[in-house]
Symmetry: C2
Subunit: 490 residues, 2 copies
């Protein structure tokens, strides 16, 4: 019987609690107890260990097992409710737009009992190469049983760096392993990039709308945000950026997602990317390029990152496996040009090193040559949903709603009629088990209150169709309510 | 034959390079090519995928396989040397004591071809429960094949938080799952703790000697370091701390390792811990408690952390599995009292979330009840080395050398005669394949130049004995050299 040690433990615990064995008393030896209870010696060993971990038994080296001072330990223990899994937290909707807590509250949404959670930029787990990764993981654990005992040092697992150098080279970036630093996701890469080139009080230019994680990061680093408008098709407006840099005088860094912008889904043409680099160079600033979605662009030809044209080391390139390969791994990387040594030092102070196991698994996955076909499949699946989802939004949402972008596919960026407030809409939708990201999160200054980002990286099915219909009905209901603060509506 | 797709790939690559298949030409279908080459269809599929990943083949959905523009891609690729594993880097000894680069350079030491690397605080991998963890890892991957496809949100895996709440409760800390946040090792916990309670320019009190990672972290955060002397037996001097806090007026935080201090190995008695807490409360400061080594203290009774007495939420407790359970996992945690919500927000900006797989494995390991017996074994193994290693140091090192501390066991903190310089000693020792941590790294202000930390968490054997002997000889050789800058020696 697999769990007989648990039954035995219950029995012995009862005997201890009823003081058949007093605190400090010596317990029977493993052999004695096994014989008296008619179980195997290994069951007794597991029982003693289990009760040691629960504070009932004390095992003294070369002496034996004793009854521990379990009452004192119980007195120190918190109420048993503390051991229960955490209950769903209450979402503080009013904090969703706060600079400091927008992400915390967005993550709290995830703990709600939702039927259709569409507020994060994630794809359906079966769309990732989970089988292949799990198989490789099994192999790694069989091959290197000491794997978890190793102490990771350095800037990343050499095998993964070699594999990524190959991948990034094919994306057009010239680099060697020393130019690459592994991080805990693109988030850590972006964070150390910002810390490398700014001091608190400095100004950083970002896209508008901008990924909400950047806004919270800048707030925590004490940096000022300069929001530069985007065009729906090409991302950050180069005219506006140039004007902003000229007017401001000292913008330390420009953070952009040139390929597949979050939330617009826009992709800059090569010529615009080169021009962007030229503008940053001319104004002696630094370009922090977030390419987390680059591998997912809907075209078969993967867009080149701006980093591909960087000859002066002025672009800090941040990449990630979280969107394209394996979300749970939290693996990212940074190619920092002239800032690389400082980035390495900052990474050590931030989180020392990056877990080894995931690096070993991803290295084998990429080296096996399976990445391009996986990405192709992922792109095809994404493309199959974007059409019907866009159609459904235009059909069910209030008149005047605009959705998507020319390069979209992972999510839809939806503009509702001006008077609508997507934060209130979220409140109503969450009660029906459906979520999205309200537009207000994509700005540090309250813009995009009538926008929303809807994650659609999942198979097109009746559930998603119904969800979009429900959202549309809720928006229409909001529209027909008297809006206390709205101006004169049509 | 397992790798026949690789042979086939070589063949096809050669055909493409010799332009038997021109760029843009359609390649044979899988079935055609399999028949013509006498291999299986799956071998051909793997071959095409492999060459796709190498940039020779382009797979177009619903159309077939084509020869990619491989020449253009090759032109973009760097010299082939970039693909080779990184060579050993040169250690910049002069940077080892720099505030910003001490850890980077210490990690570079690891890349040298060493026979006896004793410069990091790590134990021999077989001393960790690697088998059990690998077995659990296999089980997790079998049970949840979608594991790597999940997107982690929230403050940690509930199962691990439950297991850790149990462990920490037994250590004397009262908490529930909401009081606990998982981090990428204790390093990230310490870093967000400092960011939560300080602003650049603030002053933070640390122990002297202090773990070098803290010094580099404070430097990167723009914080001023106040070094408070320690006594060898009890850690930070409470008299000196109280004096320093009174004199300075506004010390934002005090960072300490009350249980098993790095590098002294000292452990504060309970009464001193309570007094420490009282001092911090009285001066309206915050105690950041680094308990990474608490589970490893040599006594059978695990020392209580200061956090156990905290009733006002003024202690930010940082723990880790990296020293006691699984170094490669990079799992840490923080119990932040009144700062918990801010810590959660900072963690999101720092690295979003913590990898799921390691959390699942560690949760099962702790829940199985195997932790106490593992820790007991680890303590016994450590204890078996500390005696003979201390003896060997006293026997072979120059007269006047002092080693160890009353609670030591994981490493030795060795004070050589005053005139000796352990940085120069390291330079000489590394050439013989032996390393240690020079004392100068354990201070921000150049103290402890004649000290060194020697990691001895490994079985006592002839190699370690010989290594200590060699270090002693090198120290004596340095002693007999005319020291250009030394004062009048005895």
């Amino acid at each position: 019987m697999q769990h007989s040690y648990i039954q035995l433990s219950k029995l012995l615990k009862l005997d201890i609690r009823r003081q058949r064995y007093q605190v400090g008393a010596k317990l029977p030896s493993v052999r004695q107890y096994a014989e008296s209870q008619g179980v195997s010696a290994s069951t007794v060993v597991r029982c003693y260990r289990h009760l040691e971990s629960e504070g009932y038994v004390e095992i003294r080296a070369k002496s034996g097992m004793y009854v521990a001072d379990w009452k004192a330990q119980q007195a120190r223990a918190p109420a048993s409710s503390a051991m229960a899994p955490p209950p769903a937290q209450a979402v503080q909707y009013e904090q969703l737009a706060s600079l400091q807590h927008r992400m915390t509250q967005l993550y709290v949404l995830t703990s709600l009992p939702l039927t259709l959670p569409l507020h994060l930029a994630l794809a359906a787990p079966p769309w990732y190469p989970c089988d292949a990764l799990a198989r490789i993981g099994q192999r790694v654990l069989r091959r290197d049983v000491l794997a978890f005992g190793a102490y990771a040092t350095g800037t990343g697992l050499p095998a993964l760096k070699t594999a990524l150098v190959g991948h990034l080279t094919r994306c057009g970036i010239e680099l060697g392993p020393h130019d690459l630093l592994m991080t805990n996701g693109a988030t850590e890469a972006l964070q150390i990039a910002l810390r490398a080139v700014t001091r608190p009080g400095d100004t950083v230019a970002v896209e508008s709308p901008v990924y909400f994680g950047i806004v919270q990061m800048l707030e925590h680093l004490g940096l000022k945000v300069l929001e530069v408008p985007c065009t729906a098709s090409q991302g950050i407006s180069l005219e506006a950026l140039e004007y902003a840099l000229e007017q401001h005088g000292s913008v330390r860094a420009v953070v952009v997602m040139p390929s597949f912008q979050n939330p617009l889904g826009s992709c800059m043409p090569d010529a615009a990317k080169r021009r962007l680099l030229g503008i940053v160079e001319k104004h002696n600033s630094v370009l922090i390029e977030d390419d987390a979605f680059g591998d997912l662009a809907p075209a078969a030809e993967r867009p080149r990152p701006v980093k591909a044209w960087d000859r002066t080391g002025r672009v800090i390139y941040c990449g990630s496996a979280s969107k394209s390969m394996a979300p749970a791994m939290r693996l990212g990387w940074v190619v920092g040009g002239r800032h690389q040594r400082l980035l390495e030092s900052l990474k050590l102070s931030n989180s020392l090193t990056t877990p080894l196991f995931e690096q070993a698994v991803l290295a084998e996955f990429i080296a096996s040559g399976a990445l391009p076909s996986h990405l192709r499949k992922l792109r095809e699946r994404l493309a199959a949903t974007v059409g019907p989802a866009t159609q459904a939004v235009l059909q069910h949402f209030p008149l005047g709603t605009r959705a998507g972008g020319p390069a979209g596919g992972w999510w839809l960026w939806i503009a509702l009629p001006d008077a609508l407030d997507t934060m209130a809409l979220l409140h109503a939708a969450a009660q029906r088990g459906i979520t999205f990201t309200p537009g207000a999160l994509f700005s540090a200054s309250g813009k995009f209150a009538n926008h929303l980002r809807l994650n659609i990286a999942r198979p097109w099915d009746r559930e998603l169709e119904q969800g979009i219909k429900t959202l549309g009905l809720l928006a229409k209901a909001q529209q027909s309510q008297p809006a206390p603060n709205a101006g004169v509506g049509p």
